[in-house]
């Protein structure tokens, strides 16, 4: 193992290190949800939505990652049709399915952002502020 592989650490015992990134993804999700629920500014709420979106995408890409035999992740793109290259590819490639899912999810996230920003713009036009406390007329 050379190159990037040399930098790899076997952190702590067994699975714990392999689970740490998941915990970070969950943490990011929670930060995003916190911003959405507790913040009182429309832009902050949008920021929270973005962060929650990142968290889920991060989680999905982590589930598909594998180091491969070379010690670094191979992109699921074949560049050479030769047999040896294909074999190496099959050995090293990461899981392409979560990547396809994330691509869809990124696009959906962009769509939601476009809509929510236009709502925020309209609300600003009506109230002259991004502050929810000034806006909230509705009662649950």
């Amino acid at each position: 193992m050379t190159g990037i592989a040399a930098c790899h650490l076997s952190l702590g015992a067994g699975r714990a290190a392999g689970l740490l990134p998941y915990a970070v993804a969950l943490g990011l999700l929670v930060i995003g949800l916190y911003a959405i629920v507790a913040k009182k500014n429309l832009i902050k709420i949008i920021v929270g939505l973005l962060i929650a979106d990142y968290a889920v995408n991060l989680f999905l890409i982590l589930t598909g990652y594998r180091p491969g035999t070379e010690g670094h992740a191979g992109a699921p793109i074949l560049t050479d049709g030769a047999q040896a290259a294909r074999t190496a590819f099959l050995r090293n490639t990461t899981d392409p399915l979560p990547q396809a899912l994330i691509l869809t999810s990124i696009v959906i996230g962009l769509g939601i952002v476009a809509l929510v920003v236009s709502l925020a713009v309209r609300l600003y036009e009506k109230y002259g502020t991004f502050d929810v406390t000034d806006i909230r007329k509705l009662r649950g």
Partner: protein, 154 residues
């Protein structure tokens, strides 16, 4: 940006845009066309194309872009056309073996532009759709929004 909303930005920006925008759009088209061989695809390329068009509109202003018919109306039209195009690619499956979204053209030898014709077509449709959609929403939301505009009863 406040004074140049209709006639565009300064001539330096215009000159640079003239050179850069073409490359950006070329790159966008490349990303769309070669999505099945290299990273990227219809969506990514579409976003890049949209960015190129937005750059032109920002630099040259409203009057120029209207002369090129880079308007919301055109954007909305291309948006629908691209989406319908993708749907048609999907429905073309019915013409061959009655399967929704089946590949109506067989896969060819790999590593060529035409090695996956159905994917290429789908990428083109998505690219056009995404570029038009994002350009349109950018126009509607960000560019002229603070300025005065007549009520539009579409």
């Amino acid at each position: 940006m406040t004074q140049g909303r209709h006639s565009g930005l300064s001539s330096v920006v215009k000159d640079i845009t003239r050179i850069v925008a073409a490359f950006i759009m070329l790159f966008g088209i490349y990303i769309v066309l070669y999505g099945h061989l290299t990273p990227g695809g219809g969506f990514t390329g579409g976003v890049i194309l949209a960015a190129g068009v937005v750059l032109v509109v920002l630099a040259f202003g409203r009057d120029f872009s209207q002369r090129l018919s880079l308007t919301e109306r055109a954007a909305s039209f291309c948006d629908s056309a691209g989406a319908l195009g993708f749907l048609v690619v999907a429905l073309l499956g019915y013409t061959v073996n009655t399967f929704f979204m089946a590949r109506f053209i067989h896969a060819q030898a790999p590593f060529r532009l035409f090695s996956a014709p159905a994917i290429l077509l789908a990428n083109l449709a998505i690219g056009a759709k995404v570029a038009a959609a994002l350009f349109g929403v950018f126009l509607a939301m960000a560019v002229w929004r603070p300025g005065p505009r007549e009520g539009r009863l579409s």
